[in-house]
């Protein structure tokens, strides 16, 4: 039995379809279904439906053997896990974004609003730029509009929200997609099943 930590929501639904395609089909929960654990009929796989940002914790601590987690959360939280495959879904970019009329002043400390302080800090460290991090939990685009920050570091999918708030992406700093991750201890004791799943997912993606 493999325990799979899946992010609740759109990505989780897509991942369940991928697992169904490689032979781990299980019943489709309906809209009113509030179960957080779903097991397939032959007892080979158990899906744990988890808040996306918690998937890494479940896998790192061995409550789940494998899981699916965005590269943004992996990079931000740096869990001690294996990253076995790129599922090529949920693709987007982490970007530095700024108001359309913004001009960088390299002589000043840059104020950066973000949900991802570690990613922002590591990026600006790598280019030797002094910054002040403003950690926010949502509506990041509002920060430069109200003068709370100079720029933001955030996920850009289509760019529509940015455009509607007179912002634009200045610089992509990280390619994001959903990744198959594994607990380091589970990988040793269930290596055949985990490697089998990894291989089939890669084959499905033509890798």
């Amino acid at each position: 039995m493999i325990n799979v930590a899946l992010p609740k929501g759109r990505i989780g639904d897509k991942v369940r379809k991928i697992f169904a395609q490689i032979g781990y089909e299980c019943e489709e929960p309906d809209k009113d279904d509030r179960r957080l654990v779903i097991e397939n009929a032959d007892g080979t796989i158990r899906y744990l439906l988890i808040k996306p940002s918690d998937v890494g914790v479940y896998v790192e601590r061995g409550a789940a053997d494998i899981g699916v987690l965005g590269k943004d959360t992996i990079t931000e939280t740096n869990p001690d896990i294996f990253e076995l495959a790129d599922l090529n879904i949920g693709k987007c970019k982490m970007c530095v974004c700024a108001p359309n009329d913004w001009e960088d002043d390299p002589d000043s400390v840059l104020r950066v609003a973000t949900k991802y302080p570690n990613i922002a800090k590591n990026y600006y460290n790598s280019v030797n730029r002094q910054i002040e991090i403003i950690k926010l939990n949502g509506s990041i685009e509002l920060a430069p509009i109200l003068g709370l920050s100079d720029v933001i570091v955030d996920i850009v999918e289509t760019g529509t929200t940015l455009k509607e708030n007179n912002l634009h992406p200045v610089l992509p700093i990280l390619d994001i997609s959903a990744r198959l991750i594994a607990n380091k201890s589970s990988y040793r004791f269930k290596s055949e099943e985990i490697e089998n799943i990894t291989r089939k997912i890669k084959e499905l993606n033509g890798i």
Binding site: E83, A182, S185, R188
Partner: protein, 375 residues
């Protein structure tokens, strides 16, 4: 003696068994101070993997730190030389910042170090001791073996700055071939080397079945010598009952400033992270001006193990007799009955009130008239 042993917790018993095992192999107990100068630890923060220590000032104002590690002090104070190796083991409490707990913890670490001359036989012996240590803790275990020589040999072939090489090492430790491939493309690294590293990442097989996969990675003298060493250790261990628990897997990667040879990590089924970690660290001795001395060792971390072993054990193992007495009862009689059962080797609890769902081997009730009844 058996009854004394029965009260030990599983982790305490495991620690004693480990000590006995290490003594059998000629290792001597090493005892150290609880603290060292802060500067000593901060100079070697990469070896420790942390720069967070519990610090305090001694009476002369010198900044000290509670020890976060034992190996560094052993190396610093070693009297070993190439003609007289030191085989030392320890079982000490150390003080570390635990990321998952978000605070400092005092935790037990038991381990051993061989400092002086390390040859193939002693390396095979240490690998066997790491496997035997895991076996003492639980029957379901795996020891993975890696080699820094292979990793550094592959990195020698790459003409890129250290940040790229660091990221390659991260990809190896994450078993992450997809980001490695992208990194190779963006940094203009020879595809042949990237493919060899991808092969390295994919290796996950028994030690005695790794020969062909290891040969496919060799690309220079450093990788050749490292592969030769793994094969020689495999050859020595052929037929050993531990050989089929040892897998070659290069996701164990350590800082090249300190580690230079074989590395290993041990896992117990049901414990989320490695419980045994060790390897060859001659480079640490170079860094600490210890001439040509060589060293290898490992530590068993009890932090994760404590909960695992607790869940597997049944309290103290002693059978318990409960004595429920009335406050008006003859207390001398209660005292005498309790002493009688203790002399028989039982665990005894005397209470005026005993919960209904409590489980005891026997419950003795003494009422206010001195009447004794048993359940």
């Amino acid at each position: 003696m058996e009854s004394e042993i029965s009260i030990l917790k599983k982790s305490e018993l495991a620690e004693l068994k480990l000590r006995r095992l290490y003594e059998q192999y000629g290792y001597q107990k090493y005892r150290m101070n609880q603290f060292e100068e802060y500067a000593f630890y901060i100079e070697n923060k990469n070896f420790l993997g942390s720069d967070s220590f519990i610090t305090f000032n001694d009476k002369d104002g010198k900044l000290m730190a509670l020890k976060p590690d034992v190996t560094l002090s052993m190396v610093k104070n070693t009297a070993a030389d190439m003609a007289g190796s030191k085989k030392l083991y320890y079982s000490e409490n150390i003080f570390r910042f635990i990321k998952n707990a978000g605070e400092y913890r005092e935790l037990n670490q038991t381990g051993l170090e061989l400092i002086g001359k390390v040859d193939l036989l002693s390396t095979a012996e240490i690998v066997t001791l790491a496997a035997k240590s895991l076996e003492i803790i639980d029957a379901s275990y795996v020891l993975t073996v890696s080699h820094m020589g292979i990793i550094s040999g592959l990195l020698e072939e790459i003409d890129a700055d250290y940040t790229v090489k660091e990221r390659i090492m991260e990809c190896i430790s994450e078993k992450n071939p997809h980001d490695l491939r992208k990194l190779g493309e963006s940094a203009g690294i020879d595809i042949d080397i990237i493919e060899r590293i991808e092969k390295l990442i994919s290796i996950n097989c028994l030690l005695n079945a790794a020969s062909e996969a290891l040969d496919s990675i060799v690309c220079n003298f450093t990788t050749f010598e490292a592969v030769k060493e793994i094969k020689a250790i495999s050859e020595i261990m052929t037929g050993s009952k531990y050989a089929d628990r040892i897998r070659v897997d290069f996701s164990s990667v350590s800082d090249m400033q300190y580690y230079n040879g074989i590395l290993f990590s041990g896992y117990i089924e049901g414990v989320a992270s490695a419980v045994v970690v060790g390897g060859r660290y001659d480079n640490l001795l170079r860094k600490m001006n210890k001439g040509n001395l060589q060293a290898i060792g490992f530590a068993v971390n009890f932090y994760e193990l404590d909960r695992f072993l607790k869940e597997k054990s049944n309290s103290s193992g002693l059978q318990t007799v409960a004595i429920k007495y009335s406050e008006k009862a003859d207390l001398k009689k209660v005292y005498e009955i309790a002493e009688k059962y203790i002399a028989e080797g039982k665990k005894v609890v005397c209470e005026t009130d005993i919960p209904e769902n409590a489980e005891y081997e026997k419950i003795i009730e003494i009422d206010e008239n001195g009447e004794v009844s048993c359940k």
